[in-house]
Symmetry: C2
Subunit: 339 residues, 2 copies
DNA sequence: TTGAAAGCGCTAACAA
DNA sequence: TTGTTAGCGCTTTCAA
């Protein structure tokens, strides 16, 4: 035999086994595994790499996390990862995090504040290095993160909390453009299918709708409020159709609602955009494949996710908290009446 | 002052701080935090709870994981969590895992085998207690998990590997029913929009389509193969419409494809189900809100996810590997021609 | 019922 | 360039 026989030690292979097999110290193994902080002679490195391969060594992340105080993990809290908007967010965050060697802990809060708080607490206990939070409320409770000194970034929010990093779009302006576009098609009675939010102040999308109407000298159209879901949009659609002054165009505050709305319209035998034109908000893929394809205000989810991860554990880490506004873009398709 | 002053020790609060503050040993703190393995006098317990609250103590999960050799985390590997089928799977797995105190590490492999392998490796290094794998291939590489003695369950797969726990539906039978239903509406020329899979053998859905046709004494309709995406379905739809023998009904191998197919049909000015009837596979919510709503074969994703988690870290842990087949159900809506 | 202490696998400061 | 070793925070055996 050349070296010590490949240890028949039970259990998983540790750095100690590798060290013994390669005939070096555990420190050296660390150095080659982490590429530092000390240099290692090429020959030694080769021996170690060899031992690692032969033994099938895999570093223990828990031990590393304990020692370093970092789990190389980031947490994501969303209301419901099944919602296309959040599933895209999750995907983008995962990509950006993986790029930097971080893994993604996904939690759903089901639009439930207590659950959201529990999720945050749990993530904090797990020593995540940062959390991306798409909260169900305007001013989420961040104390658990703060006391653990875990950075966080809020998503999809207006500039409510001064002391927090957050990213979002200008809801007012986005909605305004979508409604203005409807007005430009000659519509005089433009309704609103609005998602119900938990804040006190009116949602930016509602303000944007109002603003566009005012700018165009149009009267306020009918409003139907319902959940930010397909079901919600469907219900809102039925109510809007039944309203005394049935609108000739409707702005939906999310693509999901618009999809439900479309169903209500189709069921009523109405043609879109012929009888009623529609625009919505989010820019999810689903909006591209509805019938007719939805004209919608795109949120740059990927960019926001990347910026969030960068702020948490990437190049922008440690920058002072601020609210960053991302540009929206009107994706013109057919539901508005454009050819 | 009553007890030692609340330690001004820097950094996060550890169990040592709590012990000092409560005037007990660290072992006792462990006992009360974990509710065992030793009993603690009520008075002592109260003191400890108090200290925990006052100090804002949160146990360090990394240390716990290191000591216990378990991270109380399970990993999920999917091709793309943006796909409604997988987003539902992720949600269901997260729910089931959270129920048992486990967190969910989400990874996307982007339909890329190398990335899938990397993800699995990474999860293994992170000491996850189990992995739910929706692989891009039939016989995924599980060696990293096996060598780390991490249990895994394969999802959405036929009974290929004997030594692995897996769950899935009977694709053949599900597809057969969907196609049979089309035939029962009197269709004689039933096409297939088939997703491209990586295996050698024909996908079960294709076999089921064939079988239903044979059972009904019908000739083989045209096939269009494309990706398991909306885009793929759209492309397949256009090809099917251009085919010499344009079918009067089409079975799509996934809801996503069906949605794309529907778009192709609408663009061609065809009415569904009037001109062409459609059924598909998966039973995702999106299929309920397409126009017309899709008749589709539902996979019990939630049940499969729950069973997977149970097999990994729940009641069924340690049971011998086997393939479990879950029942499908035809969700009848309008795209097939039913009123 | 409580406490002392060993050690999980790793990193990095310090020594050689 | 390499090795020794203290300790990260926790659980749990063993002793008191």
């Amino acid at each position: 035999m050349t070296t010590q026989p490949a240890s028949a030690s039970r259990g998983p292979v540790t750095r100690k086994d590798v060290a013994r097999y390669a005939g070096v110290s555990t420190a050296v193994v660390s150095y080659v595994v982490n590429g530092g902080p000390k240099k290692v002679a090429p020959a030694t490195e080769a021996k170690v790499q060899d031992a690692i391969r032969v033994l099938g060594y895999r570093p223990n992340a828990a031990a590393r996390a304990l020692k370093l105080g970092s789990s190389e993990t980031i947490g994501l809290v969303v209301p419901d990862n099944t919602n296309p908007f959040y599933s895209l967010l999750a995907h983008a965050v995962e990509d950006a995090a993986a790029e930097l060697g971080y893994a993604l802990l996904l939690t759903n809060s089901a639009g439930n504040l207590a659950k959201e708080r529990r999720n945050i607490r749990n993530l904090a206990a797990r020593q995540v290095d940062g959390v991306v939070l798409a909260s169900v409320v305007f001013e989420p409770d961040l104390v658990d993160l703060e006391s653990a000194e875990i950075p966080s970034v809020l998503l999809s929010h207006s500039d409510s909390q001064a002391e927090v990093t957050s990213m979002g779009v200008d809801l007012v302006e986005g909605a305004r453009i979508a409604v203005e576009h409807l007005a430009s098609h000659g519509h005089k009675n433009i309704g609103l299918a609005m998602g119900t939010t938990t804040g006190d102040e009116a949602d930016g999308r509602e303000q944007g709708w109002l603003k566009a109407l005012a700018d165009a000298g149009l009267p306020e159209g009918p409003i139907a409020r319902s959940a930010f879901t397909r079901e919600g949009g469907y219900a809102a659609g039925k109510r809007l159709l039944a309203s005394a002054q049935r609108p000739s165009a409707i702005f939906a505050s999310s693509d999901l609602q618009a999809v439900g709305l479309l169903r209500a319209l189709h069921e009523a035998g109405l043609s879109v955009p012929g009888d009623i034109a529609v625009t919505s908000f989010d820019g999810s893929v689903e909006a591209e494949y509805s019938w007719p394809p939805l004209t919608t205000v795109e949120q740059p989810v990927r960019e926001m996710a990347e910026a969030a991860v960068r702020a948490l554990v990437g190049a922008d880490r440690g920058e002072p908290p601020r609210h960053r506004v991302f540009p929206t873009r009107l994706l013109v398709r057919q539901s508005c009446g454009c050819p």
